[in-house]
């Protein structure tokens, strides 16, 4: 009997798996870290989740994948981007949230969401790793502090220093020169977290600040990052007990939708989405001016400036 659905978030540094029963109750979640885009990580994460739930692959009715490696997962029936899935997962964790800040290993993104978990607007870091987990990893290495310890150390900072928020490589050079000037590790790390926060504030500005804000992704587990981002935004953020699994949870929820109501598989080429779009387009020929209008409370999707 296939009585479960699975969401897999194949990220750049970790893989997260969430299994839900068909009522939507989470029965397992597992985070595995096996290096960049690692198929082994996917297997470890899935096996961990199966073991927790006491089930096997044959019990899974539908799997949705997300994350950087989303198209590389053979067991997935469908894949959506991590932006779509993080929005859905974050709203499932905190239904009142209207803005999601997700800082993962490779990407950082800010997503404006509606109450039903649909993405309204988003902004994402461009090519540079500044403002991502990679940025923290690189700078932890420069300061020679384990990544897990850097947050606590940064919280004990007493002197305000500045590190550039534009480029991880430049920031590393700056960190080394600050250390050479005799600045303390906590102060330097405080500046590193402040740099991440100012970069995030820039992304939030692109989308437009809204409240309440929920933060997801691995970096949300770092207290100093949360503290500095809250300071930069002058707002408290909602943080789930396990913020890393938001994307996998969102993916699992989409899988659940699609099992419950196959027509909900909107992205499938075989389903009703194209038909829906064709009928919505129907009156879009001239001189119709109404076809593309959204309801008054819904903002259109915009590109980042």
């Amino acid at each position: 009997m296939k009585s479960y659905v699975m969401g897999i978030d194949f990220g750049s540094t970790t893989t997260k798996t969430v299994i839900l029963d068909l009522k939507g109750k989470m029965v397992a979640s597992c985070v595995a870290s096996k290096g960049s885009i690692s198929a082994e990580g996917v297997q470890v994460s899935m096996d961990g989740a199966f073991a927790q739930a006491g089930i096997a692959q044959k019990d899974i009715a539908r799997t949705v994948s997300t994350g950087y490696g989303r198209r590389m997962i053979d067991v997935a029936d469908q894949s959506y981007t991590e932006i779509t899935c993080h929005a859905r997962g974050a709203i499932a964790m905190f239904p009142e949230a209207r803005l999601v800040i997700d800082i993962g290993g490779q990407d950082s993104k800010v997503i404006a969401v509606s109450g039903d978990g649909l993405v309204q607007q988003f902004a994402m870091n461009d090519r540079c790793a500044a403002g991502t987990g990679k940025f923290l990893e690189a700078l932890a290495r420069a300061v020679q502090v384990p990544v897990e310890a850097m947050g606590a150390l940064a919280m004990s900072s007493t002197e305000k220093l500045t590190v550039s928020n534009m480029c991880a490589t430049f920031a590393e050079t700056e960190v080394i020169s600050l250390l050479a000037e005799g600045k303390s590790k906590p102060d330097v790390l405080g500046a590193v977290h402040a740099a991440i926060a100012s970069r995030t504030a820039g992304l939030v500005a692109r989308v437009g600040n809204r409240n309440p804000i929920v933060m997801t992704g691995g970096v949300a587990k770092n207290h100093a990052a949360v503290h500095y981002i809250e300071q930069a935004l002058s707002a408290k953020m909602l943080i789930a007990p396990d913020p890393q699994i938001a994307g996998a949870l969102g993916a699992a929820l989409f899988a659940l939708d699609e099992v419950a109501k196959p027509s909900a598989a909107m992205m499938d080429e075989e389903d009703g989405a194209d038909e829906a779009m064709s009928s919505a387009r129907g009156c879009a020929t001239q001189p119709c001016k109404t076809a593309a209008k959204l309801p008054a409370n819904e903002r259109p999707l915009l590109g980042p400036m």
């Binding site: 950087y68 959506y80 981007t81 991590e82 932006i83 779509t84 490779q106 990407d107 039903d116 649909l118 993405v119 309204q120 988003f122 994402m124 461009d126 090519r127 909107m266 992205m267 080429e269 009703g272 989405a273 194209d274 829906a276 779009m277 009928s279 919505a280 387009r281 879009a284 020929t285 001239q286 119709c288 076809a291 593309a292 209008k293 959204l294 309801p295 819904e298 903002r299 259109p300 999707l301 915009l302 590109g303 980042p304 400036m305």
Partner: protein, 390 residues
């Protein structure tokens, strides 16, 4: 020839523009006149017995060109300078420069310095398009250009030769527009990459030869019935001087978008307007220059009667597009200057759009893919949600 082999021939030309032009020069004995993109009437060089070739951004990494131009110039100008420094333009008989933006002007200066023995025709077209004197000034510039060409070939270009070239070029534009129309209507399945190949090759290949291939292609499409395509109908806007990387176009379509229309220079912008072949050719070209800015507004020109954002909204309705993807070449000042107006107008109308900044050095599309895929997912979900609400 089959559709595939015609497109294959055109693709080779589009992707190897200088090699194709050089081969043509050897085979035909014609002079090759390289020109900067956007506003140069190739008809005139053709009537002078030359083959006009619009200079293209190369895929090569920029190396020696770095010594001549700042890294904050757009990829197109940096690439043009780099190609000039590497000697790629040595086979050209002349180069036509325009001054449609400051960066292009800088590139022109470097090319001039690097190719002292190549004849340069510099033209400064009026950019204020709706003044009482605009038409006269445009005509004057085209007359200067004609005189420069006449000096190069050693005899005058007669009006009948100009009209013959105008007719040949009109025919080319008409056939390309027909292909666009067929794609919009779903009668011809042409990807964004293929559409770019069709237009880009027209900027390089001998026009009579290009027309012959287009005629064959149209005949082939008439014979086949296109199957309906499913997905999000996408309108592409932006990218002036340089062609967007075909990898970006492929990526958009791999993510589930169907590109149905565009205002790209390597697209509709290049072929939008015909030249009147019944009046004085210089009058006709001046008229063409002003008219094409009304057909597809250009952010480097100023016309009280042209409004790019309204043009885009209307064009999207005409092509029944669900969303627009704006391709903005990094450091393209005219585009950056106008984009906020487009953003505001689209936001007001509630039409989804996504901005993608492109650059010469960008070769990895994975992070872009996430943004494009999300955009298309959102457009689908919003459309479906609207339908349920209705």
């Amino acid at each position: 020839m089959s559709i595939e082999s015609i497109l294959g021939t055109l693709e080779w030309t589009a992707e190897n523009s200088l090699a194709a032009a050089s081969q043509w020069k050897q085979a035909s004995g014609r002079r090759i006149v390289g020109s900067f993109p956007m506003h140069f009437p190739g008809e005139m060089a053709h009537a002078a017995g030359c083959t006009p070739v619009i200079l293209q951004e190369s895929h090569e990494p920029i190396t020696v060109g770095h010594g001549m131009i700042y890294p904050f110039y757009c990829g197109f100008t940096r690439s043009i300078v780099d190609q000039a420094c590497k000697g790629d333009y040595d086979f050209l008989d002349a180069i036509m420069f325009g001054d449609h933006c400051v960066q292009v002007l800088g590139a022109a200066d470097v090319v001039r310095a690097k190719l002292p023995n190549t004849r340069v025709h510099f033209y400064q077209l009026i950019s204020s398009m709706s003044d009482p004197w605009s038409l006269g000034r445009a005509r004057e510039t085209f007359l200067n250009l004609k005189e420069g060409l006449e000096e190069m070939i050693g005899h005058s270009i007669d009006d009948e030769a100009m009209r013959a070239s105008i007719r040949l070029f009109n025919r080319n534009r008409q056939m390309l527009r027909k292909l666009y129309e067929m794609r919009r209507a779903g009668d011809a399945r042409l990807t964004a990459r293929q559409m770019q190949i069709l237009v880009k090759s027209s900027m390089i290949m001998d026009k009579a030869e290009h027309n012959r291939l287009l005629e064959e292609l149209l005949a082939e499409f008439d014979k086949t019935r296109a199957t309906a395509q499913r997905g999000v109908r996408v309108y592409l806007s932006g990218h002036f001087c340089q062609a967007p990387k075909t990898g970006v176009l492929d990526m958009i379509e791999e993510c589930g978008g169907i590109v149905v229309d565009d205002d790209l220079y390597h697209g509709q912008r290049f072929i939008s307007t015909d030249v009147d072949d019944s009046i004085d050719p210089l009058d006709a070209l001046a008229k063409w220059y002003l008219e094409r800015n009304l057909k597809v507004p250009c952010p480097t020109r100023v016309d009280q009667n042209a409004d790019w954002e309204n043009y885009l909204l209307d064009a999207m309705e005409r092509s029944r597009a669900d969303g627009m993807i704006v391709l903005m070449a990094k450091f393209c000042e005219p585009h950056m200057y106008y984009y906020p107006e487009i953003k505001e107008a689209f936001e007001k109308r509630g039409v989804p759009h996504l901005l993608i900044e492109t650059e010469h050095e960008l070769n990895s599309f994975e992070a872009l893919r996430t943004r494009v895929e999300t955009f298309l997912e959102v457009v689908k979900r919003q459309t479906a949600a609207r339908r349920i609400a209705a």
